[in-house]
Amino acid sequence: MKAGWPLLGAALLLPPFLPISDYTLHIIILVLLWAFVYTSWTIMGRFGLVSLGHGAFLGLGTYVTALLWNHYGLTPWAGIPLGVVVAVAVALVIGYPCSRLKVVGHYFALVTLALTEVVRLSIVAWRDVTGGSLGMTPNAVPPESIVALQFTKFTWYWVALGVWALGLVVWHRVDRSMTRSAMDAIADDETAAAAVGINVTLQKLLVTTVSAALTAFGGALIGQYQMYINPDTMAGVGVSLQIVFAAISGGMYVILGPTVGAILTIVLQEFLRVLFGTRCIGAAATIYGIMLIVFIIFMPAGICGVIVARMRKRRAVAAAAPAAG
């Protein structure tokens, strides 16, 4: 696998220079940006903190950035950090009591599910400012503007690639840190974890805030890229489920799992959009739900998880063979 990384890196430098359509490049950019968001979710999701509230963090990052730009002319370079701060503050407000009161498992999922709906409904209700359920468009400054963070697809590809790589680096660093061991211990037994000196609340809040911050950052960039944001596609429970589905289907315990999940969900989304058009609203969400059930039952480790497990098994067999011979 280590030898594959330079190859993957080299392959990722090519798309903007290949004779591919604008649409294909658009899909690749979307995959990279959403892969970053999905990777961000797994930073906490892999430790049993199954958040259905990441739609809220995504929406906060997106809307705070866009609203500050449209209403106050504040550059997204300042708007995005503010969106991230707001998302982190909300994550702390929800995460702290959940951790202190040992709200875990189904209850944690329900609390975060409520959060994502509160954010979505707030955006819808604040119609005069946010555009309500019709969504809003950040004021455009064509053709390219660094200050407005508005670029052509060619530039966006490099931004998306860099951000995706950042997500992998953070995932890797968490994976190699003692925080990972602490979180695994906490997921097993909070009381025993505290009894060896692990500050359970601190560690949980650490991964929660990192995950929320990165998700808000990803949401803001997706909004800037798409130049249209809508509470249902950027903040609702649908987005939260999409994030969870992509992470689980790709494999949340493997670094490239969420990326594979992003390829699967974005391509599926586009396929369903073309297939149904406007004839069958909700078909995509239904199919997502069915696929999530199928994956959880038959492939809980996700696509990458299964591949890695098979590779390990094959290696173990190969290593055992000479010894047996």
């Binding site: 061991s181 602490a182 060896v196």
Partner: protein, 243 residues
């Protein structure tokens, strides 16, 4: 080193620990005995921060620790083991102990040092085999040793050992008792030891405290306590009289 005064814990109308007071001197081994439900493990939970007391004071090295978070109490130098081993099943054996070495010192050491301390703790308790193996392969004795290694890896000055001999055969019990002696003798760690295996406990501890229905029945030297009529009545039985 440890001073407990008027410690009380009520669960609704049930008083599990009632006005218990005791002190532990540095490098002493105090045995805590009593029938099931007498409040021994509850006292451990209160002293280690797993539970908050309803009333009373717990002072460790002069500092009040009653009601403080369990992790903070570990950082102050007080560690515990559990009666029923609670290994971290997702982590390999070495990492189970390394995480204790790292966070027991509140992250003030690097990962490499934590792993080295974990190896030393595993060697001390005599846990053989591949340290990268999963904990699923450990038997009752192995899990007890892992508990002890994890607690020792936090580098405590006071160890609360909860039934370290449970599930062990005769030879393993003698080894475990010897290990606790070494922990005190070589490392200078003070120990409060809850145990039901009286024959082994009495040979190791300096003093014994007997609990019954959450209250102190007797406290003193092992030889004196086993002759106490109330202790014989509520816990030891007539067979121990005159032992």
């Amino acid at each position: 080193m440890l001073q407990v005064d008027g410690l009380t814990k009520a669960f609704g109308g049930f008083v599990a620990v009632n006005q218990v007071s005791f002190a532990v001197a540095p490098a002493e081994i105090l045995g805590l005995i009593g029938p099931n439900g007498s409040g021994k493990s509850t006292i451990f939970n209160l002293v280690s921060g797993t539970l908050s007391p309803t009333a009373g004071s717990i002072r460790f090295e002069g500092q009040e620790i009653a009601g403080r978070p369990a992790s903070e109490i570990v950082h102050r130098g007080l560690a515990r083991t559990f009666q029923i081993p609670r290994p971290f099943r997702k982590l390999p054996i070495l990492e189970n102990v390394a995480v204790a070495a790292y966070f027991g010192r509140n992250g003030r050491i690097d990962r490499g040092t934590a792993v080295e301390r974990a190896r030393a703790a595993l060697a001390l308790v005599g846990l053989p085999g591949d340290p990268d193996a999963r904990t699923d392969g450990l038997g009752a004795a192995g899990l007890k040793k892992l508990e002890l290694a994890r607690a020792l890896a936090t580098q405590p000055r006071l160890l609360l050992a909860d039934e370290s001999l449970g599930g062990l055969d005769h030879g393993e019990m003698q080894q475990a008792a010897e290990m606790l002696r070494r922990v005190r003798g070589e490392m200078g760690i003070t120990i409060v030891w809850v145990e039901h295996i009286m024959g082994v406990l009495m040979k190791v501890v300096d003093r014994v405290m007997v609990l019954h229905h959450g209250e102190t029945v007797a406290e003193g030297l092992p030889a004196d306590v086993v002759r106490d009529p109330r202790v014989i009545e509520v816990y030891l039985g007539r067979g121990h009289a005159g032992a």
